[in-house]
Assembly symmetry: C3
Homo-oligomer: 138 residues x 3
Amino acid sequence: MIYQESLEFATSGHGDMRDITEEVALVLSRAAVSVGSVLVHVIGSTGAVGTIEFEPGLCRDLPEQMDRLFPPGRHYAHEQTWHDGNAHSHLQATTLGPSLSVPFSEGRLLLGTWQQIFFLECDTRPHERKVIITVSGS
Amino acid sequence: MIYQESLEFATSGHGDMRDITEEVALVLSRAAVSVGSVLVHVIGSTGAVGTIEFEPGLCRDLPEQMDRLFPPGRHYAHEQTWHDGNAHSHLQATTLGPSLSVPFSEGRLLLGTWQQIFFLECDTRPHERKVIITVSGS
Amino acid sequence: MIYQESLEFATSGHGDMRDITEEVALVLSRAAVSVGSVLVHVIGSTGAVGTIEFEPGLCRDLPEQMDRLFPPGRHYAHEQTWHDGNAHSHLQATTLGPSLSVPFSEGRLLLGTWQQIFFLECDTRPHERKVIITVSGS
C-alpha cells in the first residue's frame, strides 16, 4: 500500500530549521497501515531533511557548522555564472541530502526519544517549501 | 510484502564501527522475497549507518576524519545547555545520516565486493543500539 | 509492485559528474506505476548519488569542495595498508552516500526544476559503474 501527501510551509531563509516529526506522524496515521517505511523528501536543491535531537542548541549548531564547512563566498564556480550568492547553500543541501526514510511498526515511527525529523533551509532567502511524504506499508 | 526485524548490539563509544552486512543479509533471507529494497535505520540521534569498504584502515579514518570536521569541544550551543560533551557526535551522525536503503535481486543485496554496510557509534559513551531492518519486496 | 533495472556507464575518474535524471525517469515510465518511490543506488564504495542543480559551476564546485574537506594524501590509515591513493575517495563517497530515494506521483519524479539526480565518481581512476534503479509503487 502506498499513501502520499505533501506538506507545505514558508521558511525565513538560511538556517531556518523546522521539526516536521508530528506532521509526518499524522500522515502515517491517515495512511492506516501497520508496518513499513516513510520517505520524507524535499522538492528543490537548497533544502535538506534528516534526523537530529531537535533542541535550540543543535538548531543553531547545525547551520553554523554547515556554514563553517561550506562558507558563503564568491569563489565558487556557481557564483561566477549565476551571482546569486547561494553556492554554499547548494553544497550544504547536497551533503546533508534532500530525503530520509524512517521505518514504522504498529503505525508508529521508529525514532528515538531525542531523534526528530528536521527540515533545514540552506538557501539564503525565504522559500515556500514542499515536502513529499510517501508511506509504503501493509 | 513488508518484513521487519531489529538488530541489537552494544558499542564501546566514539569511533566503534561494526560491519552489519551479514546480519542484514540474514534478515533478507528470512523475508523470503526476491526483488526490492532493504531499509537499515538506527534509532537514536548519535549513531550513523552507511556503506564503506570495511577494512581496518578506513575504520580508523572515518571516525578520525569526522572528528576533524566536527571536533569535540565546548564551543557548541548544544554544550552551553546540556554540558554532555557530545555536540560533535550529533553533528557527525546527522551529516552521515541514520539510515541507508540497499536494493536486492534474487534475494541478494546488490553491494560491491568491497562495499559493506556499517554502523558507526558517534557518541562519546557506550550505547545499547537498536537497528531496524525493513525489507520491502516481492 | 517492484520493478528493477540497472544502468551502466563509464566514468573518466575523480570529479566526473553525470546527470542520470532522464535515465531514472525512463525506468519509471517502463515500470508503468502511478505513485511510490524510486531507489537509485550505486554498487561500489567510491561512487556517490544525490541531488543537485546540475549546472557546470556546481559540477566543478562539488568535487572541488569534497577534495577540500577530504584531501588526497598519504596520511590516511587506508593508504598505509593499500597504497592505492584513494582513501579520500572512500571518505567522500561514504559522506555523500551511495543511494537516494525520490518519490513520484502520476508516474513523474517529484523533483524541482533545478534539482537533478547526479552520480559522482569519487575514485581517482576511471570505472565501469552500475547503478541499480528500483521502483516501488502502485
